[in-house]
């Protein structure tokens, strides 16, 4: 019999109680960050999409030895709301982009600017966006695209985003988007599950430890139901939301009726549908 087994039962009880207390403390969700600002950065012009190979990490601070802000110079990287914008980064399966500023927040004012943010980051498969700042979001900040044979998962951790005329994070592929430890200000929506993609999926999004400043439309937009044109009628998205700090008047989570390509998704009038899709913990 070893020493651990020889402990007095009351000692074990005490240890158990202590463990419960520790779990209660340690298990608390991480608090939302305070307001963040864009790091001071050196401008670097970028004329084409940066393709991050599968399984690798593109680290701006490691690459340049300092914070840089990437400015798209090609006509289709200006960062306007034009749908023809190409991404600043293409993340292939298993890749990471970290420690960099996308776009130039000092170019003019407002949210619909040619600030060089291009169409942000496109993720194919499993990707990580860590400690990245969008100084002025272009068309979108980041988008999950479907990679055949891989269940998508994009984890956005740390960083901040500013001045998104429309949605910040767009979920077009399948799988899960995780947004944690993040700050966003002056945005349309933090997240939107595609309302009318040609191929629809029941998607998941997890939001934890996120602080929002000014929101112009809603916190999240999910498809709380899908109609017959979507091809996945009867399914629905699920947003799990923990510690989302937002004190404005816009709704934190809005439900839509997902549909097929060429149709406009309407708001879901069923409160029970929205309740099952917008899960606040």
């Amino acid at each position: 019999m070893n020493g651990q087994q020889m402990q007095h039962p009351l000692g074990r009880l005490w240890q158990g109680l202590l463990g419960l207390v520790l779990v209660a403390v340690a298990g608390t969700a991480a608090a939302a960050p305070s307001a963040r600002t864009v790091p001071a950065c050196t401008k670097v012009n970028v004329s084409a999409t940066i393709d991050v190979p599968a399984g690798t990490t593109w680290d701006g601070v490691a690459k340049y030895g300092k914070w840089v802000c990437l400015i798209g110079t090609a006509s289709n990287m200006k960062g306007t709301q034009s749908e023809s914008q190409i991404p600043m980064f293409k993340l292939n399966n298993g890749s990471t982009v970290k420690n960099v500023v996308i776009g130039d927040g000092s170019l003019g004012s407002g949210t619909n600017l040619a600030a060089g943010g291009a169409d942000g980051v496109h993720c194919y498969g499993v990707c990580n966006i860590t400690n990245v700042y969008w100084a002025d979001v272009g068309e979108d900040g980041a988008t999950i695209k479907k990679l055949s044979g891989v269940t998508s998962k994009l984890t956005i951790s740390g960083g901040a985003a500013f001045k998104a005329a429309d949605k910040l994070f767009q979920h077009n592929g399948d799988g899960t988007m995780v947004i944690q430890d993040f700050y966003a200000d002056n945005i349309g929506k933090l997240y939107r599950s595609c309302g009318n993609c040609s191929t629809q999926y029941a998607r998941k999004v997890t939001v934890s430890g996120v602080r929002l400043g000014t929101v112009n439309s809603a916190g999240l937009g999910v498809n709380s139901s899908y109609d017959s044109k979507s091809g996945i009628s009867g399914k629905y998205d699920v947003a799990t939301i923990t510690d989302l700090v937002y004190s404005g008047s816009k709704t934190k989570c809005v439900g839509y009726v997902g549909t097929g390509s060429g149709n406009e998704p309407a708001k879901d009038s069923s409160t029970s549908n929205v309740a099952r899709s917008c899960v606040f913990k």
């Binding site: 463990g19 520790l22 779990v23 403390v25 340690a26 298990g27 608390t28 991480a30 608090a31 960050p33 305070s34 307001a35 963040r36 600002t37 790091p39 001071a40 399984g55 990490t57 601070v61 914070w67 298993g94 990471t96 970290k98 420690n99 499993v126 990580n128 860590t130 400690n131 998962k153 984890t155 951790s157 740390g158 944690q180 430890d181």
Partner: protein
């Protein structure tokens, strides 16, 4: 800006004055009408605002001669700008619009010399509108955070009423020197703010310089206040993919048993998402797991369809 000056400024009554700055509402400034010449109002002397605050004086510094803004500006840009503060305050009472550019010049000068506590102290006695004061103060704080975030953060910690500035200032510090900012956060008194700043610091440091951050984490031994940051870092896809043994070593250091087990499960899932066979191999080598825990983890792994 030396620490000595910072402390001196505080000792000179800055605590009360700066706390006053942070108040959301305050009485409006005195009426703009100048005091009659016959009244027994002492002529303004070139004593500094610091001295006024230290003496607890609320008496307006007035002039009995017309104000010459050019001369005042020259004085403010001269070797002893503090001496001209009473005149500037008098001008601000009479004509705030004329005084504002002079305040901006003076504050910019002090900011360029990194005399931020002195600048904030001067603002604390400035008879300007609340909105103007808030804007000027914010500009100063932003400038200080950019120039010397460590000093600014310590200032916010030590001055009552400035706690809400700790987060944004720490944010700037983290961008410049994540290690020092993290160590600072770890030395704060226990409480929610300390935990939030510590989590924030480690999140940023592990992203910016994971190797150094992990070295520091290992040097701290087993600490419950580090559990959440360790779990988040160690169960992420990037570390699991590139340095799985580091990830497993870190998880073994999580203090709370239940949180540690959750982290093991999360890491096992992440490893499996990357490569099932490699996940099995790695978990078979994982340190700190009992045979029963290892068996349970492996059993929970399901090959991808």
């Amino acid at each position: 800006m030396s620490a000595r000056l910072l402390h001196w400024s505080m000792a000179a009554g800055g605590l009360a004055a700066l706390a006053y700055l942070a108040l959301p509402e305050r009485e409006p400034p005195h009426a703009a009408a100048p005091a009659p010449r016959e009244a027994a109002v002492p002529r303004a002397t070139p004593q500094s605002a610091l001295a006024l605050v230290a003496a607890g004086s609320n008496a307006p510094a007035t002039l009995d001669t017309p104000l010459n803004t050019d001369a005042l500006l020259e004085h403010l840009m001269g070797p002893a700008p503090e001496a001209a503060l009473p005149q500037l305050e008098a001008l601000a009472r009479r004509a705030p619009g004329e005084a504002l550019p002079l305040y901006e010049r003076l504050l910019a000068r002090w900011a360029s010399q990194r005399q931020f506590p002195q600048a904030l102290l001067a603002l604390s006695t400035a008879p300007l509108s609340d909105d103007t004061l808030r804007a000027l103060k914010q500009r100063l704080i932003d400038s200080w955070a950019e120039a010397a975030p460590d000093q600014a953060t310590r200032w916010a910690q030590n001055i009552p009423g400035q706690a809400e500035l700790l987060g944004p200032l720490q944010d700037r510090w983290l961008q410049q020197d994540a290690r020092s900012a993290t160590v600072f956060a770890s030395t704060l008194p226990q409480g929610e703010q300390r935990q939030a700043l510590l989590d924030e610091s480690l999140s940023r440091w592990t992203a910016q310089d994971g190797l150094a951050a992990r070295d520091w984490l290992r040097s701290q031994g087993s600490r419950p206040d580090l559990d959440e940051a360790i779990a988040r870092h160690a169960t992420g896809d990037e570390l699991a993919r590139n340095a799985p043994f580091d990830a497993m070593d870190l998880i073994g250091r999580i203090a709370a048993p239940e949180r540690r087990w959750q982290a093991w499960q999360a890491l096992a899932q992440t490893l499996q998402d990357i490569d099932h066979d490699r996940a099995v191999s790695l978990l078979n080598q994982a340190p700190g797991l009992t045979p029963a825990e290892r068996a349970r983890l492996l059993e929970e792994l399901r090959p991808l369809p």
